[in-house]
């Protein structure tokens, strides 16, 4: 097992050949990063502390990044930072695939994490290897402690199910050409500034901001199974937010995020400026909108509200998290996926399917946001029909086995909490095989309202997903998901319209979902023939495990507008802050 000398020599040759290729067309004479990782990895295999076992698996990863972030408010620059960094990661396992130091509450308590800041930003293979050398030494000693503690914790416990700790996998070698880093900082700063000045025209918007972020990353990975990759893993985004406060004190919020894996995937300045005007206008309209009452009845998710709902109720549920071994009598409070244990059950209507496909790069001219050639564990992904005719067929897996499932299908995307990686969805296509036009779907909603003699129905056009939510709302969400202990809750809807039997629409505010969860999806009544595409920046799994690592994942969801026969929304009954005693300062800039 592990990889033989011969394989190693081949890898090293590959790394060198790569360097040779590069020297032909770039100033970089050699890929010394890959070479340093592989050389140090080979050396580390001989780690041994007295009579204790050597590691059976070591993985080194390094993200070589250049990031630029620009933040503007009302046409003025708040901050502008450009930085190069190299972030290393070491994963080390002792024991065997069946039982090792991972999947234990204290897996990462010993040995410490590896930080950046001491890896050279320039040529310096020995200095880089020194950092991996010291980090590996710490990780090895930590792993030995962790596995001993884990054994002790299990000594007086009868495990209901014994799961292996780490699945075996086919190693993949995948080397992309090195990317050139090109960005016009001055132009993007000016653009961000101009877009932020849009809000100067909306005095109702009390607080606003625009943040541009460009992240060029080249990710390297090499492990003792023989996997090695070098891929470009870029992320560009422009985030816009606008806040106001209604007369009764209720905070009003709207936001939009434009994101892409290539700078060219971001929309034009004109489109983003319109986006700023739109969220400002939404805030102004919501300030004047009447407060809604509790509601139970038909609800139409139109436009991006549909893929937004699928992000939370389906995408985030498709990769159950492995529960770690805990200390006896001290279970780990962790909410697991709502779909766990429901393999083979009906999740969607029989006329709907869902496919998770990281291999596809565009769809109908739209550059897909969740694509990747190899996952974070060096596994090549394949498209998966996760739901067929409404029935759950697959979970999304990395190399960490979960109850009933072992063997990666290439979905590890983020560093996980207990010594392994975390799986999540990529490009999720939710498809309906029976559809009507969008107008027809709206008509069906009105018919339902009339049939049931309801005064009105609801159309939801936008949700406030965690990536755009205010800090206050994020706190509420994480508290709520912690309290309930199971399953996430759906984010607040931002744009909710009452639709009266005569077809008239009225914007309302102040509602949240009640009891809406993954089970609700079974009762989708009808779908439109539109395919709405939504790009989403995830912060690491479900709401309960929100952003533990600071890493983000990229996703696209494509789904049709959908109609539910019966959903509940309740009036938000929070205590709102009083209005400020001092009115806001007048805006003076002339546009």
């Amino acid at each position: 097992m592990n990889f033989s000398r011969r394989e190693f020599a081949a890898l090293l040759a590959a790394a060198r050949a790569l360097g040779a290729q590069n020297s032909a067309n770039s100033e970089q004479p050699n890929d010394e990063i890959m070479q340093a990782l592989i050389e140090e990895l080979e050396r580390s295999k001989s780690l041994k502390l007295s009579n204790l076992p050597s590691p059976y698996f070591i993985e080194y990863a390094l993200d070589d990044t250049y990031s630029l972030s620009v933040s503007c408010v009302l046409g003025a620059l708040i901050s502008s930072n450009a930085a190069k960094s190299r972030l290393p990661r070491v994963q080390l396992r002792v024991g065997s695939n069946e039982f090792d130091n991972s999947n234990y509450v204290f897996s990462q308590l010993f040995g410490g994490r590896m930080g950046g800041g001491r890896i050279p930003l320039e040529a310096g293979p020995i200095v880089m290897r020194r950092e991996f050398w010291l980090a590996t030494d710490r990780a090895y000693k930590g792993a030995l402690q962790a596995i001993a503690r884990k054994r002790a914790a299990l000594q007086n416990v009868t495990q209901q199910e014994k799961l292996n700790d780490f699945a075996k996998a086919e190693p993949v070698r995948y080397i992309e050409p090195k990317q050139a880093i090109q960005i016009d900082q001055a132009a993007w700063t000016a653009r961000t500034r101009r877009i932020s000045s849009v809000f100067s025209r909306f005095p109702d918007v009390l607080n606003s901001g625009v943040e541009f972020s460009a992240g060029f990353a080249t990710s390297y990975l090499a492990n003792t199974d023989g996997a090695a990759y070098r891929i470009s893993d870029n992320l560009f985004s422009l985030r816009l937010r606008a806040d106001g406060q209604a007369a009764n004190g209720m905070p009003i919020h709207d936001a939009v995020v434009y994101a892409g894996r290539n700078l060219a995937d971001l929309p034009s300045e004109e489109v983003m400026t319109k986006g700023a005007e739109e969220i400002a206008a939404n805030v102004s309209a919501l300030l004047k909108a009447p407060a809604a009452e509790d509601y139970s009845g038909p609800v139409l998710f139109e436009g991006i509200a549909s893929p937004q709902l699928f992000v939370q109720l389906l995408g985030a549920q498709l990769a159950p998290i492995r529960k770690p071994v805990s200390e006896p009598g001290r279970p780990v409070p962790m909410s697991s996926s709502e779909l766990e244990g429901r393999m083979g059950s009906r999740i969607l209507p029989e006329w709907m399917d869902a496919v998770d496909d990281p291999t596809q790069s565009t769809y109908k001219g739209h550059a897909l946001f969740g694509s990747y050639p190899v996952d974070a564990e060096g596994i090549k992904p394949m498209p998966l029909k996760v739901i067929e005719k409404g029935t759950l067929k697959h979970f999304l897996l990395g190399r960490t086995p979960i109850r009933g499932f072992e063997g990666s299908n290439g979905r590890a995307r983020l560093p996980g909490p207990f010594g392994g990686s975390m799986a999540t969805f990529s490009n999720l296509f939710v498809k309906a095989n029976q559809t009507v036009s969008r107008e027809e779907l709206r008509k069906k909603l009105i018919e339902m309202v009339q049939q049931r003699s309801k005064p009105y129905g609801l159309i939801i056009r936008k949700l406030d997903l965690p990536v755009t939510a205010s800090a206050q709302e994020l706190r509420t969400l994480s508290q709520a998901s912690g309290q309930r202990g199971g399953g996430p809750i759906v984010s607040l809807p931002i744009l909710v319209y009452k639709v009266y039997p005569d077809g008239r629409e009225e914007l309302v505010r102040g509602l949240r979902f009640r009891g809406v969860n993954a089970r609700s999806l079974r009762d989708i009544f009808a779908a439109a023939d539109d395919e709405v595409i939504f790009d989403y920046i995830g912060q690491g799994g479900t709401l309960a495990t929100l952003s533990p690592s600071g890493y983000v994942s990229t996703h696209t969801v494509c789904s049709p507008s959908i109609l539910f026969e019966d959903l509940e929304l309740e009036k938000r009954t929070d205590d709102w802050p009083n209005l400020p005693l001092v009115p806001p300062p007048a805006l003076t800039s002339k546009l």
């Binding site: 009302l74 046409g75 930085a83 293979p125 020995i126 000693k141 009390l206 806001p584």
Partner: protein, 556 residues
């Protein structure tokens, strides 16, 4: 043309008058608007409002063994709002046992003097602070009603000071990162000669800091200062698992004034050699006996053990140990020693100091404070939080952005009326060892820092973490040792200071406490102490790395 000429003639006159900068003007306008409206409509009403903006332009570069590992440049502006409701007798800053006031947030504000963006932010911060302030004032009033007041500590919450107006330009910094990168590569590579070290680094930082402060009392000031620093650090692990660190730093007002490469190389060699020698040095045993603290070590010792206990706000905190509260006019140090805090001193003995400023963070003008005169305690370090008998600030209210002001140290200077040359001090140590009939004494060459508890619930004790310590035998032989921590209780330690040398040592650093990290200096002659207690350092038991360090030879 003509007009320009006229302007040129007028400009110097204008510059001489304290003309508020764009930012001061914007802050002052929004301050007036908020203060007037809150006084009109607010219940309770504010009697004081201030806005402080700290602007920092900073550069930092770090190098390890000949390569650059980080290179950052930042420009930030932080806004802190301070508002007082009620009256100076009792306001929302009143100390409640175990609960610190926490209103400041260090909010980011526009880097340009753009009125719309800045005023909106200032307004929303003022609103946020007003809400918190009203809530805390209500808590305080309830608390006052149920608890019996400790009569002696009843002092007002806020002192009356005269408003200040000033506009002092901050000198620009020219930082050439390419030049520094080249220098640091060369300097850090020097550590390659010392294979026993596990980690090392050489870094340079420079910062231009400008502070803007406006208050409802009419204070309108702008002032600031540049900083530059080189830090040298090295780490190693002894065979028994003990982690060892050594380091040196150089400070200057401007990167141009930092030392030449030759001096830095010498420091690197000292740091590396000290550490290499420490790896093989014997461990200390617990000990009580005579010792010399070098000037720098004595400076840190005074900062930790004495300085933190004469910070004014501690004298009114019910939870504090209050070692010196009732000792005014009494002898607290040997009569040949005086202690001065002087934030107006920019340099001494040709070395730039860290702890100077023109105004403190409450807009009070900096001034020299004679704290201990010939052993007698005269006063405390005061912010605008008065204590009984000390009704005014002496310009020592300090904080970092985002924290609330408390009284803090500046440039601490220990002065000795009688001194002896360094050589003589060592002879006196040998004599003291013999007199006390001890097998050896100690010489503390360098100290990283230390910590002390001043809280009443804890022990009134300190621990100082020395870097380089020698055992000194009666015959004058010196042996480097490791694992020594200096411990003791403050009152007894000061009584045993026997003599001082004629050579002051300077320590420049950052001090961390309730109000965050602030730049400080400590200057002291070497001191001979009749009785010092040494305890064994708490140490890691991890083994040194199992594999040898990687080398250029490739896979082995």
């Amino acid at each position: 043309m003509r007009q320009i000429l006229v302007f040129a003639l007028i400009l110097p006159a204008l510059a001489a008058a304290p003309e508020p900068s764009g930012l001061v003007k914007i802050l002052a306008e929004e301050l007036n608007r908020n203060f007037t409206t809150l006084q009109d409509k607010g219940e309770p009403k504010p009697y004081f409002l201030s806005y402080a903006v700290t602007e920092q332009e900073s550069w930092s570069l770090n190098a390890v063994l000949g390569t650059i590992t980080s290179n950052n440049k930042r420009h930030q502006r932080f806004l802190d709002v301070s508002m007082r409701l009620g009256s100076p007798k009792l306001d929302n800053y009143h100390q409640i046992r175990g609960e610190m006031p926490d209103f400041a947030a260090g909010a980011s504000v526009a880097l340009e003097d753009s009125p719309d963006a800045i005023k909106r932010r200032v307004w929303s911060e003022t609103d946020r602070v007003y809400r918190l302030a009203t809530q805390r004032l209500t808590n305080i009033k309830t608390n006052k009603e149920v608890k019996v007041a400790d009569k002696e500590t009843v002092a007002d919450d806020f002192s009356v000071e005269s408003p200040e107006t000033a506009s002092i330009p901050t000198a620009p910094i020219a930082f050439h990162d390419d030049e520094w990168a080249a220098r640091l590569r060369k300097l850090s590579a020097r550590f390659s000669k010392y294979p026993k070290l596990l980690a090392s680094q050489v870094s340079v930082t420079a910062m231009r800091e400008t502070k803007y402060f406006v208050s409802s009392e009419g204070t309108r000031i702008q002032h600031g200062r540049p900083f530059a620093r080189i830090m040298i650090l090295a780490q190693a692990k002894a065979v028994d698992g003990m982690d060892l660190n050594t380091g040196e730093s150089f400070s200057a007002a401007d990167p141009k004034q930092l030392p030449k490469d030759k001096d830095i190389e010498e420091a690197i060699d000292r740091v590396a050699k000290d550490l290499t020698n420490l790896l093989d040095a014997p461990l200390v045993e617990p000990f009580v006996g005579p010792a010399i603290l070098s000037g720098r070590a004595a400076g840190v010792f005074f900062h930790e053990i004495f300085g933190h206990r004469i910070e004014g706000h501690r004298q009114k905190d019910e939870a504090d140990g209050q070692t010196f509260t009732k000792r005014i006019g009494e002898s607290v140090l040997p009569s040949f020693l005086s202690v001065v805090f002087d934030p107006t001193l920019h340099a001494t003995a040709g070395e730039d100091l860290h702890g100077w400023y023109d105004f403190d963070d409450e807009g009070v003008r900096a001034r020299k404070v004679n704290l201990v005169e010939n052993g007698i305690l005269k006063t405390f370090l005061m912010s605008r939080s008065p204590i009984v008998g000390f009704e005014h600030s002496n310009g020592h209210g300090r904080k970092q952005p985002g924290a609330e002001v408390v009284s803090r140290q500046s440039n601490l200077i220990v002065q000795a009326a009688q001194t002896v040359p360094e050589k003589k001090l060592k002879e006196m140590l040998l004599a003291e060892i013999k007199r006390q009939n001890k097998p050896y004494g100690y010489y503390f060459q360098d100290i990283t820092g230390g910590f002390t508890t001043t809280g009443r619930q804890g022990f009134q004790a300190f621990k100082v973490l020395p870097l380089v310590v020698y055992k000194v035998f009666p015959d004058g032989k010196e042996v480097l040792v490791r694992g020594a921590d200096l411990v003791g209780t403050p009152l007894s330690s000061f009584a045993k200071i026997l003599a001082a040398s004629d050579k002051p040592g300077i320590f420049n650093g950052y001090c961390g406490a309730e109000s965050g990290s602030v730049p400080v200096s400590a200057i002291s002659p070497s001191l001979l102490i009749g009785e010092m207690e040494i305890q064994k350092k708490d140490q890691s038991r991890d083994q040194p790395p199992l594999l040898p360090a990687p080398s250029a030879g490739g896979a082995n």
